[in-house]
């Protein structure tokens, strides 16, 4: 009956048979595996070898990291699983973990590092919140203003007049930013506009509108200034800084200063003025053709020889300056590459509109160029973060330096696989975070291209 032609009112109507389901071998997991893993003899062989290899390594790792693990012990000797064999001594890592993160920073003062980190996160977080306005100012101030507060929190001690001013400024700015973010989230408008409305200046002349903002900021600044005037923390000399904290301080300062200095150098290298160009080229080529470790050695051991006797330049400061200059030289070439990718027409159009050099750079060329450079910029930042391990060679106890110290402690003597693994995980997390952020930034800034 089913095969009989259907008739409807004497007309023969074509009624297709329902299509058969795809052969079971081409759908689902099995199909996916056939197409992707066992598509022909070579593919099958490599799959089998690959799976065996991964399995072998995974089992080995599992055994090392978990089966043989000793979690509780107070010395490496207690990590023995037999008289002639050590287990995987995670207890040692637990024992030393605070040092990996904070170095030799006094335990009682560690809250200062945590506080600075918290403030930084709070300061940067608004960049991800879509309703917050003036993101550029928030982001820039996190890089330019926050370091003074962080620097004082880390270093402590007495503040000179400059630091007293800057710390108060930094704190006020932070509070202002937080208020701004809160207002943005509630009312959908920025702090400035809200103040103007709240004080009833909205209907006044445009030129008058800025006064309530200036006056309120000044009041807030002086209130904060006098509130924190007597606040003082114990001095912690840079000699005691270390661990991941030091790694992040060095690479953070390097990253924050590399971009601005690099942009200036790149513009200088493309400048029409011969003196500026020659100086920039000389600087870039000098720093790019010398290995970082040589520059670090120069900064920490040769440089003091040129100074008058008795004047000792802080080791960490010289290292940070060296890292900044080194990364700026590399950044300059990245930026130059980005600038060259912008077509001549853009420069000419900017000129035709009557924009000055800085206006055309700042408004037309740089925004386009920087967007193109993001993968390269983040690439060199990640490189810089990892390069800072070199400072452990000149006797600074960054993360790697602390890791190396474990195996020389009689209590944990010879323990170095586990700490190294821990360092690898910490570096991986830090680098992955940076790389993910750059992808996020690219997607956001590239929105215009996709439209």
């Amino acid at each position: 009956m089913a095969d009989a032609p259907m008739t409807s009112g004497g007309l023969l109507v074509f009624k297709p048979k329902p299509s058969l389901p795809p052969p079971p071998a081409t759908t689902g997991v099995i199909g996916w595996m056939r197409f992707n893993l066992f598509d022909g003899i070579y593919s099958s062989v490599t799959t089998v070898i690959g799976v065996l290899l991964i399995g072998y390594i995974a089992i080995g790792f599992y055994e090392w990291a978990f089966v043989r693990a000793v979690w509780e012990a107070s010395s490496r000797n207690e990590c023995r699983i037999s008289p002639t064999e050590f287990g995987t001594c995670w207890a040692g890592v637990e024992f030393w973990f605070t040092r990996f993160i904070y170095g030799r920073y006094p335990d009682a003062e560690i809250w200062r590092i945590d506080l600075a980190a918290l403030i930084f996160v709070l300061w940067m977080a608004p960049l991800w919140l879509p309703r917050v306005t003036a993101k550029v100012i928030v982001g820039l101030s996190a890089v330019m203003v926050f370091p003074f507060l962080a620097g004082y929190l880390f270093l402590g001690g007495e503040r000179n007049w400059f630091m007293a001013i800057m710390v108060a400024l930094s704190l006020t700015w932070f509070i202002g930013t937080m208020v701004h973010v809160a207002i943005c989230l509630v009312t959908n408008q920025g702090l400035g506009r809200w103040i103007i409305q709240a004080t009833g200046f909205a209907s006044r002349d445009d030129r008058l509108q800025k006064y309530p903002i200036i006056i309120l900021s000044l009041i807030a600044y002086f209130v904060v200034y006098f509130l924190v005037a007597d606040w003082q923390t114990v001095e912690v000399v840079p000699n005691q800084w270390g661990g991941l904290f030091l790694t992040l301080v060095i690479s953070g300062v390097g990253i924050a200063s590399a971009l601005p200095i690099g942009i200036v150098l790149a513009l200088g290298r493309r400048s029409q003025m011969p003196v500026v160009r020659v100086l920039c080229v000389a600087f870039i080529e000098l720093f790019r053709s010398v290995p970082l470790i040589t520059i670090l050695f120069m900064a920490t051991t040769m440089f003091p020889l040129f100074l008058p006797k008795g004047v000792v330049f802080n080791n960490l400061a010289s290292v940070i300056v060296a890292v900044c200059l080194f990364s700026a030289a590399y950044m300059a070439e990245t930026v130059r590459g980005g600038l060259q990718a912008i077509s001549r027409g853009q420069y000419e159009a900017a000129e035709a509109m009557g924009l000055s050099y800085w206006q055309s750079m700042g408004l037309i060329v740089m925004p386009q160029a920087l967007k193109l450079m993001i993968p390269n910029i983040v690439g060199s930042f990640i490189g810089l973060l990892k390069d800072t391990t070199l400072v452990s060679i000149i006797g600074l106890y960054d993360l790697l330096g602390m890791i190396n110290a474990v195996s020389q402690d009689p209590q944990w003597i010879g323990l170095h696989h586990e700490p190294l693994f821990t360092a690898a995980v910490l570096y991986f997390v830090a680098c992955l975070a940076m790389s993910k952020y750059s992808q996020h930034l690219e997607r956001k800034l590239g929105a215009g291209d996709r439209r």
Partner: protein, 347 residues
Amino acid sequence: MKKLSLLGLGAGLLAALSFTAAPAVAESTLDIVKKRGHLRCQIGTPSPGFYNLKSDGTWVGSDVSICRAIAAAIFGDPNKVEFQSVSSTVRFTALANGESDLLSRTATWTLFRDTQLGLSFTTVNFYDGQGFMVPKDSGIKSTLELKGATVCVLTGTTTELNLTDYSRVHKLDIQPVVFQDSNVRNETYLKGGCDAITNDKSGLASNKAGFPDPGAHTILPETISKEPLGPAVRKGDSQWFDIVRWTVFALIAAEEAGITQANVDEMAKNPPSPEVARMLGVEAEVHKGLGLDKSWAHWIIKSVGNYGEIYGKYMGSASSDGIGIGRAGSQNDLWTRGGLMYSPPFR
């Protein structure tokens, strides 16, 4: 003409620079340290027993104790020290350029270093010597049996040079396998990458303690080099030289006189001998030339103990701080017991 004036400007700048670089008044190191409020003591990168970091962030070890002893002698407080952990490649530069006040690390006293690097070794606080370690089941009993053997050694140190010298003198044809990192060297040795490992004997002892099965390895009896280790200072300040040297002597003399960290207060009250009385500043004024307080030696012993106590804590015992090298009958024992530790009289 233009070129000439540029040259002149350059020369002027150079002259000005060199003028400011010359120290106007030579201030004594002691004054500088006192003014600064703390001592800058250079140690090396962690080395078990001598100076190593603990998981609470403090430095401990025998050389660290020398730093603390000097701080105690000057300030009466062993914590007024900034420890500068410097890699061995730049250790002498960091002393020469004034970054460190003294060097208290495992640097071997040699003629060249003592005369040509602008520094002076004060005295010896540890006698070390290079030796070999082999697996017990290799059956080797003497270094002379190491013919044609491959030996793991750290590069860039005198250890490497001593090894080739020794191999040449005794026609052993030893093949050195060089390493940058002691952990990697140990690992290679444990996996059978070389027949023996060479290092200072103190280092061998601590390496061995970190092996999975320390009992399976043995340190050969021969010592192929002399490694006298002691604190060094910049040349040209004899008062500072004396302070460092006599701090070490005070530690040794205290052990000889039986003064310990525990009984030093009691001894200062009732000195059992005129020597102890002079040392602890109860009698006479032998300390005057050092420019220190008369209680300087009292403070030293009170803060870090005598030489034997320091040795016992960081070298002798196989504890969480120590690496377990026996002292009895070794060169590091007191002269009264057949060792080389000897202090001139406190008179």
